[in-house]
Amino acid sequence: MTGSSTAPRGCEDPRWLKGLLLAASLAFLLIFLLLPLLNLFAQALSRGGRFYLASLLSADTRSAIRLTLLVAAICVPLNTVFGLAAAWAVAKFEFRGKTLLVTLIDLPFSVSPVVSGSMYLFLFGLQGLFGSWLDARDIQIVFAVPGLVLVTMFVTIPFVARELIPVMQATGTEQEQAAITLGASGWQTFWHVSLPSVKWGLLYGVILCNARAMGEFGAVSVVSGHITGLTDTMPLRVEKLYNEYNGAAAFAVASLLAMLALVTLLVKTFLEGRTAGEPASIQPVIIGARAGVSNLSRAK
């Protein structure tokens, strides 16, 4: 019998169990994560580097990349400001309906993206609540860029606020009070004390928010209208190329999104290393983030 020579410790698991669990999780990650990812890059490059570049540089794909960047450039800053304000309110003030506010912030997490998209369709679509009013004034929201921005906003609302609330709660208000007793104004206190003390959590939230804003498929798909070169974002472009039996081109665009995910992961790891030396309270909390990769599976 192996291991019988050493007296078993009360709270130590047997070595074979450790090994088994480790092997199981590694195998699982290999099969469900690494293999598909490697396959993605292999497929993308299957027709050579030149074809890869050409498919990325085609006019429609370039327009999809531009649109994705535009949507993210609008949604991420707005949600950052909203997230800061909401987290501030929740963490530093006592008011009635606080739990309700937190629940509302979480809502987009629990609503299926297709439903999120449909909600806006039922509001601003031609058959929707404001449809005829908008149509009479020739304002197009659904099947146009404004619709894409709106649903992306909705879907990415929780990211920044969710990251900041626990960090801000742990920080408390004493540092701000100290700044005030030292003569600092409200703005100086925010800029020099409040913001720096949450900066890593904030950055983490922004990165996750960005990954989701660029990678969102379901909600965007509902309100996009799939007009090639006009309302196709990158995830939608991937789907379209794939449906057109242009597999290698689809994988090429998908590889861009996958790289976005990888960069997000890298930055996240860096940020966690950054905060490791500091008090545990300011380490970012990992939340249900879905970067570009996960959307691919649905695109196929």
């Binding site: 540092q175 009070q177 100290a178 030292l182 004390v193």
Partner: protein, 386 residues
Amino acid sequence: MSIELKKVSKQYGRELAVEEVSFSVEDGELVALLGPSGCGKTTVLRMIAGLEQPTGGDIYIRAQRVNELSVQERNIGFVFQSYALFKTMNVYKNIAFGLKIKKWKKADIVTRVGDLLRLIGLEGLDHRYPHQLSGGQRQRVAMARALAPRPNVLLLDEPFGAVDAKIRQELREWLVRLHHDLSITTVFVTHDQEEAMEVANRIVIFSKGRVEQIGTPREVYDHPASEFVARFIGVMNVFELEVRRGMARLHELEFPAAGLADGQRVRIGFRPYAVQVSPDLDHYRYRAVLRHTFFLGVMLRVELQLASGLTIRGRMTKEEYEHLGLADDQEVSFQIRQYRVLGNENTPLPPEISTAGDTAPVRRESPVDEPPASDKESVGSSEKLP
């Protein structure tokens, strides 16, 4: 006069947290606001700072009424219980913060911070971050940060609450030296009577939002204004007795109660050092067993248990204890030399009544020679009958 409070009150909803508190702090004084938790002392400190608004009364700093002034305009230094150091700034930037806000010249800031680092004995640690410092060091940085912009007054909220006993002692001594050197008007809040006694020039004792007594440590110790004060600073045994046949009695204890009707209840208080102990069982009128001896340094506290189970706290110097050859579980005799008949807890204390001549020779009488030392353990040591 540096700080003056005139009938300052603070009401939260319907609850009166601070009720018509008046006291003043002279220039360069070091004053302690002392009281049990929830007595309003921290609220008073925060109202002086401007972090809370009084709902009544006036606050003056250097003869200027500051009720309407914002925190920033009051030019105070405030040290928080948890230090509240800026955790994203190193020691240097923490101390320099107030100076930058006040737009000091760069060269002046460098000099000032250097001076303060020397003052708090942390030269060379200016690039450390708060989480890389010990509790005592953080405390000193918080102090330096508060002192940097040369405030009119320094306000400290439980400044030594978050460090261990040994560091606490060092910091207390350091604060006294610092205050002596800078002679900046300082007000600090504490719930620790020993700390207040040791550090402060004067003590303001709070109970339930009101000032119970203001005085020097010795005044407060020797002449507590009320039973609350006497018990809070830990210098009183309290018993409730019943009058029978002209004497107030509780088990073995009896005190003369002339003029009181039988059945009436009387509360008696006496100080631990009014208890005289002898190993000679016939020396004093009561007998007891010395249950425990608490060594508190120069002073000792003894717990005497009577046959009925009553426990009485006594105090004596180490020399006396050794001279008498006392030991735990030894049978001894004792007497109570002085006592007071108590009224309400917050009513003024009546004068002490001497029982000298009750029995036997009286020892050297020197209660005032006693240092007002650590009596922390006997806070709330009094016993009452249900």
